[in-house]
Amino acid sequence: MNTPHPAATPPTPPALGRRSFLGYVLAGTTLVAAADLGLGEAPPARAEIPTPPQVPELYDLNDLLTDAARPTANLITVVIREDGTATFALPRMEVGQGITTSTAMLIAEELDLPLEKVEVTLAPARPELLFNQLTGGSNTTISTYTPIRVAAAVARAALLDAAAIVLGDTVAALVAKGGVITAPDGSSVTYGELAGRAASTTSRAVEVQLKGEADFSVVGTPTNRVDALAAVTGQKDFTTDLQVEGALPTMVCRAPTLNGTPVRIRNKGAVRRMPGVTHVQQVSFGVAVRARTFGQCIDAVRALDVEWRDGPVAGESDATILRRLRSAQLPMPALPDTPLAQTIKGDFTFYFRSNSAMDTNSAIADVRADRATIWAGLKSPVVAQERIAEKLGMSVDQVEVNVVTAGGSFGRRLFFDAALEAAEISQAMGRPVKLMWHRADDARVGRGHPMGTCRVQATVAGQEVLAFNQSLTCVETDFRHGLGEIITAKAADLPAGLGNLGFAETIFALTQEVPYDFGAVTQTLVETDGRFNTGSMRNIYSPDVRVASELVVDQIAARMGLDPYEFRRRFQRNERLLAVLDKVAEVGEWGKRMPAGTAQGIAIHKEYKGVSACLVEIDCRPATTGRRIREAVTGPRVTRVTYAVDVGLVINPRGLEAQMQGGINDGIALALTSSLHLRDGHFLEASWDNYFYTRQWNTPPAVEVVVMPSTEKQPGGAGEAGVAATFAAVACAYARATGTVPTYFPINHKELSFEPKPYVPPIPQSPRNGLDLTS
């Protein structure tokens, strides 16, 4: 898609006054309304005492992402078509979080158009957007809230101007509703009829007013997803569902140690002659096979006999990595431990976890001599485009990158591993390919959340907390996707990991805080080992940091003889946090009598301009932990969750509730069941019956999410807001139910609950007994 540019640079700054903004009508054959994606209001800085304000309170990751966009002057456009619909290409990535729905709602609101007449698609890579095409940090709604509304308001104003001429009346006398503009005499004209008339032959800047919150009729109304009908009928297309001419199924045979590389293929000819196989090709990361069906790819991958070079973590295991982490830990400050000042400590280990989505890594690539076309689920398509061009030896404008909706991400699709691989394979084979990772590879080789330790040390005197120190030491989190474009991505790629560490330190500082009035608070991060395939996973540092913090908070409360809820109230200094805390205590019946072996746990979290609180009930009694289900982990069950969230202005309460429900299941998995086991240079997990994400037998039968009415005028982030408080509340509940504070997570990590699948061949064969297992 070509991006139109305004004829002249606007002479005044974008924000003109209260709810008054500059937008553009662009030249076109139909009405094209535009706004600068960098538009937005900086949230007011706020400091509270007596703990000095921590960085995220004044300026958090979302401010960084939003500010990164400001220097760019790039436009997003709302186009009105002659059928009366509005279209908008969102420069973000839909992975299930519901942003196409919330975006359509914003446009419907400002345009006074029914929601079903708004079509939101995903924009391909637009390199001119620089920093501003990254989907991450729960930032989409925060950064696009104002510009999308401005573009829609410009369209509405242009339609009204055109209608005034058609209907022979003044704009002030006209009423726009439901995609129809009506004059006082009853005559009317539809948006579709006006689309051509409102079109402009030149581009011009216009000033528009946005609706006030009090006038919202769509925003804030619970709304079902715009893509739900396609999803429930099987019509929602993901990358591997796309039919691209000649792009045959392609899979990769990978090394038996993580990130190992191929030396040579010993039986290339024999595999090439297998049924359906068209190509067998050694590439830098493995051996690719292309065949008529994916089933024939699986057969071929399993038949390959390859000599491998070991990967960089050959021989390593959880225990060796833990030793490495321990030796990298910074000393904690020495604190007095006298009768007046006591020290309470916690030391927790968090094992590797996988952000494997249901839709495995996949991409379609059609690489020709002079151009390449890519289709994939990509949250940072601009970096992907630049890296693919670099890999192929092409210029950026020779590489077209199309963004496809993905079946989940949880951070995984900030990177573009499959797209880069598919491009390399297609170039080597000289054919289009549809690359799909096998589940076993997605779990074992796909990016995950780094292992780490988190130490906490609190100094308590009487009923006061004098100091609270927290230090996270972990395997490197890869931020080489930068802020969505190659400049910052390259900065993260400096030698010796210094660049990425700088990113990690920045992101840690911008996201982490201790949301209590605890006197002198310090939080530090050390990252140590860059050999693993990592990335952000549905919340970057917060889940681990908050769990460590909240478990120690419960211990401080116990030392002071205070109830966990009362303690959190007493040391709370944020009105919004106090409100969500009180809400879950009330709705979730904090303090009710519970049988032995069961308990409640409560925790809070603050991030991305939002606050949340979670109250859970857990059942650790033998009848529950001893449940036997084949190929499954049962263990303690969270039986009830009450969650209160205040993200600021809510666009779609139903979507927000869904995000919290999902985050709750993630938090439960992190606490109780899901981790990767590193043994002898490779992760063991190769199946959903190895990597124990929450299943129906683990999920709470009772979940209540309370969306708080917010006093904030700006929306906050939602995609990650459900995880940290849940993880922490479950950990606290488990400690209270069993009388034992866990020292590692998930709590089942040290029992291996499955028989590991072989590494050679690297992927399992599909069973043949499916007809014996009907139900």
Binding site: D227, T240, G276, G295, M358, I664, N665, D666, S687, G770
Partner: protein, 164 residues
């Protein structure tokens, strides 16, 4: 090349493909029927759940050569026609799909065709046994949803079963 014949969503289909290719790939790669999703290929994640002669099964674990010409395969695409027109809802869909829409279950949507097909089979099984769906029944469902939509899935199954 062997010719494979079976009934797919009410129509007899014939495709030239080796006996051992699993039905999932025959559906997706040869016939372009992409509602059943790949999530593991080893009958664990259940994202490809479809029906054979009215019962839930997983095409990733069935070599196509094992199908008989009169075996009726139903994927999510053919589900609405499994009920009489008057039973279909406002979108013209199966009552379970309508319940899914009313409760806004999907997030990314990838697992949802399989979830719905499993739900329909569970509801039918419980009905055959002359009883209502219980929490214990819901706990037996193995279909994975990595977005964690389990809460709404549970509500939608009970709702959809009542409408069936």
């Amino acid at each position: 090349m062997p010719r494979q014949t079976f009934i797919l969503n009410g129509k007899t289909v014939t495709v030239d493909v080796a006996d051992d290719v699993r039905l999932l790939w025959v559906l997706r790669d040869r016939l372009g029927v992409t509602g059943p999703k790949y999530g593991c290929g080893i009958n664990v994640c259940k994202a490809c759940t479809s029906h054979i002669n009215g019962k839930a099964f997983n095409p990733c674990a069935v070599p196509v050569g094992k199908l008989k010409p009169d075996d009726e395969i139903t994927t999510i695409e053919g589900l609405p026609k499994q009920v009489a027109k008057k039973k279909r809802g406002e979108h013209g869909l199966h009552p379970m799909q309508e319940a899914w829409l009313d409760r806004d279950v999907p997030q990314c949507g990838y697992c949802q065709p399989g979830q719905i097909m499993a739900a329909v089979a569970l509801a039918a099984k419980v009905r055959r046994e002359g009883r209502e769906i219980t929490e214990a029944d819901l706990d037996t469902i193995r279909n994975i949803c990595r977005c964690g939509t389990y809460t709404r899935i549970r509500e939608a199954i009970v709702d959809g079963a009542e409408r069936m």
